[in-house]
Amino acid sequence: MYVIGLEGTAHTAGVGIVSSEGDVLANVKSVYTTEVGGFRPRDAAAHHAREFPGLIRQALEVSGLSPGDLGLVAFSQGPGMGPCLRTTAVAARTIALALRIPIVGVNHCVAHLEIGRLRTGAEDPVMLYVSGGNTQVIAYAAGRYRVFGETLDIGIGNMLDKLAREMGLGFPGGPRIMEMARRGERLLDLPYSVKGMDVAFSGILTAAKAHLRRGARPEDVAFSVQEYAFAMVVEAAERAMAHLGKEEILLAGGVALNERLQEMARIMAEERGASYHCPEPEFLPDNGAMIAWTGYLMYSSGVRMRIEDTVVRQNFRTDEVEVTWR
């Protein structure tokens, strides 16, 4: 069976095609970015509406399949921005009706975890999921994926973006901060905020801005922010591993592309005698393949949805999904 998956919860419109054996045949995307100002969900949704038809065609081309080969369509049902989710759902419903194939709505956070398991072979990991809007520590317990820790204020990626804007580095901020941080030397004082398995970042942002105002080297600020923020999330994940007795860490989300974060997570795992897992770069940020694969897992374990069941869920919680496939 071949499954097509549509991702569109925020910036990224992604289309992936996977087989029931877990082969990824296509994984293409288009990312909506703004140079100035904040993220406007409506504009992103318009971007997705424009891009999906072409992306779907492209994914079919890359995979060498024709539309008639597809047996299932999956889409990101939530959580995310309403306008983006609705656009994505419309595209998926259109495919389902046109090809007369079943449709399933997928939880975006669960999909990050499942594609990570597929690509790395991790079995029962604690997932550290770090992206623009999301910062969560998720693991499996009693039939569900549950959020053990998360940010109490802003997402780690948003914090890095805001800092980058403050430094005049442009968007997306993460990669540019990483570049700068390489040339940092001095560790500046910042608040280290871990509360149990939860973290908070707005204090770091405020303190970093104050350092800049007082004339600190931007390189040192970028370096220090990374050292603090990444140590915090890795500690949160480590606490979850200790609490749950789990021995695998899995990285997910766009911020996990950062090599310093990867290094910290790997050292943490080594020191605990645990194993470190990080999928290939294309599977870290939002992507269509993760939706397709999770849709397949759901469908093959008996989940069925009617078109009426595919209304989007902006606040779709990870632990609302009954994990029927494990």
Partner: protein, 202 residues
């Protein structure tokens, strides 16, 4: 002498030891080499000192905690409480333990302490009392926000480590209300924290 490791905690090892002829435990924070060495050193020292101080203060305010016997370098020497964690035995004690936990946390908050890591692995019970451990992330604070976070931590810990015991948290809140005068602002913050953080737009 051979070292007996009793437990590996979230950030330390707990070693069974002898001190002046008594059985004690030593809580040793090992370095974390994923952290910048300066940051790591600073954090371990801060947490050790703070933990010793706040364990003592909590005890003085009527919250059961182990006695602090000594603080040396990066080691904390504590009275050994040979009991299971609440994580292991909450099921057997749910009829009294949930409400009692709420009362203890209220008492802690009244003493201007927030715990910062209220999972059931950080609680021991002898079947009559609950002992709070692990004040490594505890702080002095009187803010409704910090207190709300403490309650939220319990709620999350119960939900995730004890599925099916949702009613336990209701009991925790009952106990908290019993002991904490005017809990309104804290409970409002709790509500706010629950809604926040799931998906944050820029």
């Amino acid at each position: 002498m051979e070292v007996i490791i009793l437990k590996r905690g979230a950030e330390s090892v707990i070693i069974l030891d002898e001190w002046e002829g008594f059985q004690v435990v030593v809580k040793r924070r090992n370095p974390r080499s994923y952290r910048h060495p300066e940051l790591d050193k600073r954090l371990r020292k801060e947490r050790m000192r703070r933990e010793a101080r706040l364990l003592r203060q909590a005890r003085a305010s009527g919250v059961p905690t182990p006695h602090v016997l000594d603080v040396r370098d990066s080691d904390l020497v504590l009275e050994w409480l040979p009991f299971p964690t609440l994580k292991e035995v909450l099921g057997e004690h749910r009829d009294w333990a949930c409400r009692e936990l709420g009362r203890l946390v209220a008492r802690l908050h009244l003493a201007r302490i927030v715990h910062g890591d209220l999972t059931t692995s950080n609680m021991l019970t002898d079947g009559k009392r609950i002992y709070l451990l692990d004040f490594g992330l505890a702080r002095v604070s009187e803010s409704a926000e910090d207190r709300g976070v403490d309650l939220h931590l319990i709620e999350e810990a119960l939900k995730s480590a004890h599925p099916g015991m949702e009613d336990c948290f209701r009991e925790v809140l009952e106990g908290y209300r019993e002991e904490f005068p005017e809990p309104g602002p804290v409970l409002e913050k709790l509500e706010e924290i629950r809604l926040r953080g799931r998906y944050v737009e820029r």
